[in-house]
Amino acid sequence: MSEVIRVENLKTYFKTIRGTVKAVDGISLHIDEGEIVGLVGESGCGKSVTMLSVMQLINVPPGKIVAGKVIFEGKNILEYPSRGSEMSHIRGAKIAMIFQEPMTSLNPVLTIARQLTETLEIHLKMNPLDARERAIRLLSNVEIPNAKGRIDDYPHQFSGGMRQRVMIAMALSCNPRMVIADEPTTALDVTTQAQLLELMKEQVTAHHTSLILVTHNLGVVARYVERIYVMYAGRVVEASPSSELFARPRHPYTIGLLNSVPRLGETRKKRKLVPITGMPPNLIDMPTTCAFLPRCHHHIPVCEKEPWPILREVGKDHFVSCYANVLEKT
């Protein structure tokens, strides 16, 4: 399979009064055509900033992409000016984005029809009538009942789950090569969440589109993605095929995450939760050693002397950035 996008050693820093926040500090990842990949980490680990950097949607200043490449269709798209025509074509037509908050990412004063047809008219040069036809089809594809009747509604007339369906329709409207979904279901109820993830998977598979699912919930990605990147403090600490990651996690942080969530059907009498002690590091004064060291139970003497370990291969397509050779069955 060919690669759709490759991010190489991306660094995005933010200048603040207190110092430079290294939100993304050397991330490399790649996504193949039609592949569904998960990007997992806690708040502040840099997962959203990575995705916003790819789209050049970082506010400059205070933010700045200080290093790295984003290779998309053979070109480094970070070389394009962020407000240039090349970038806006990529943003609308080639790489689409779905955000967490469906209320704020739709324009409340425009009808659903207008918001859907705009991209079609601009990027696919469709005439208004054709665009409307297609918009209705897109809405019925995402299972909005009575799409024809509801297309002229405003966002507030839709429920949260329906708005997120509109966002999915909008993201897929120009047949993008890749969709970035940033916490697409976090604000929704579990039953709606299940519906939407199912729908998203179905839609991207049908169009052979690549999908990056950005989330803090390992459970969400488990079912839907083929590969997972686990991020911590601005870096990838583990990358692995999904089944391998859950069966044989190798980074102490990943192991910690898996042990700290309750399993269904497991009450406290059966197993006590094992939390990760301490807190995530301050991204301003990052230690030169592994950032997870203060919270790590598996550290060995070398961890305290050497800089943050680079990713090394520990299995087929399985990479981990850890000096200790941790093998733990979860």
């Binding site: 969440q193 519906q195 269904l264 406290r268 002690t277």
Partner: protein, 331 residues
């Protein structure tokens, strides 16, 4: 604390909480939102009762009725054997020292201008639970109980991290040494790695202090972990109550089944073997709920009867109660 020692710390009978919908200039009442629509349950002393359901199902409203932050429309709420549903505010106040509360948002629920010491000591002062000269010791002791350094007593909320703030919220709830704590989504605003810390803290405190929890949350896997018994709510009604293990192993209500199957689990192998039920549609508008069983339009097992009358909550023995015509018939 009450001297009466009944087995049931809380007993709720036919509780209803309706919010009026008003229209027009004169705010004429046109109908009601039945946020809580005739529910009954008990909370046993020293247990954790989990209350789960999706947004808008009335779980938070139920919690607030028990705290008497709302005046219930109808029904009875017994706290330590005393009916508090109709008590006037001045009589409710002394009882409040026996019921603590922890809220979801550790940012919004702490006054940003008060110090940690202030936040924890005010409930003690209001309820005169301890003499003034012991106040400082008691505040430090309470902070220590939740794993905060008493040296942080003069800090204001923004100087704490999210997890520490929630600990502070718990310290405030413990200030008067209550016997019951209503925890309303206490961990859903926290990061995954911090959630487990708070869950473990709540469990430890319960063992140490003999607390009773009403644990309100939407995440069934967490509720199941912490609770002894679970009540599942849908659109203002309780559809199933059972012990946590029983609820998982012998799920009866179609809604509970769907809820359980929708929970993402971090194990792809196990996940593949699960039978998934993806519900159609969305939770209906609570201002205009469907007739009969509220769940029937989305229920894969609904029959004609379900569209007409409300299924009663039937006890099947061993404390497992379910409100569904199908399940009570097949047994």
């Amino acid at each position: 604390m009450s001297t009466q020692k009944t087995d049931n710390i809380v007993e709720i009978k036919n509780l209803k909480m309706y919010f009026p919908i008003t229209r027009g200039l004169l705010q004429r009442k046109v109908s009601d939102i039945k946020a809580v629509d005739d529910i009954s349950f008990i909370i046993k002393r020293h247990e954790t009762l989990g209350l789960v359901g999706e947004s808008g199902c009335g779980k938070t409203t139920t919690g607030r009725c028990i705290l008497r932050l709302y005046n219930p429309t109808a029904g009875e709420i017994f706290f330590n054997g005393k009916n508090i549903a109709r008590l006037p505010e001045r009589k409710i106040r002394p009882l409040r020292s026996g019921i603590g509360s922890i809220f979801q948002d550790p940012y919004g629920s702490l006054n940003p201008r008060k110090t940690a010491g202030n936040i924890v000591s005010v409930p003690m002062l209001i309820h005169h639970t301890i003499p003034k000269n012991e106040l400082n010791d008691r505040v430090s002791e309470t902070l220590q109980m939740v794993g905060l350094d008493p040296g942080m007593i003069d800090r204001v909320p923004h100087e704490f991290s999210g997890g520490q703030r929630q600990r502070l919220g718990i310290a405030r709830a413990l200030a008067c040494r209550p016997s019951l704590i209503v925890c309303d989504e206490p961990i859903s605003a926290l990061d995954v790695s911090i959630q487990a810390q708070i869950i473990n803290l709540l469990e430890e405190l319960q063992e140490r202090l003999g607390l009773t929890y009403l644990f309100i949350a939407h995440d069934l896997s967490i509720v199941q972990h912490i609770s002894d018994r679970i009540a599942v709510m849908y659109l203002g009604r309780i559809v199933e109550i059972a012990g946590s293990e029983e609820l998982y192993e012998n799920t009866l209500h179609p809604y509970t089944k769907a809820l359980l199957s929708a929970i993402p689990i971090p194990d792809p192998e196990l996940d593949k073997s699960r039978h998934r039920i993806i519900l159609k549609g969305e939770v209906p508008n609570p201002a205009n709920p469907p007739a009969g069983c509220h769940f029937h339009p989305r229920c894969p097992e609904a029959k004609q009867k379900c569209e007409i009358s409300r299924p009663p909550l039937i006890d099947l023995g061993n404390g497992h109660m379910v409100a569904c015509f199908r399940t009570s018939e097949t047994l």
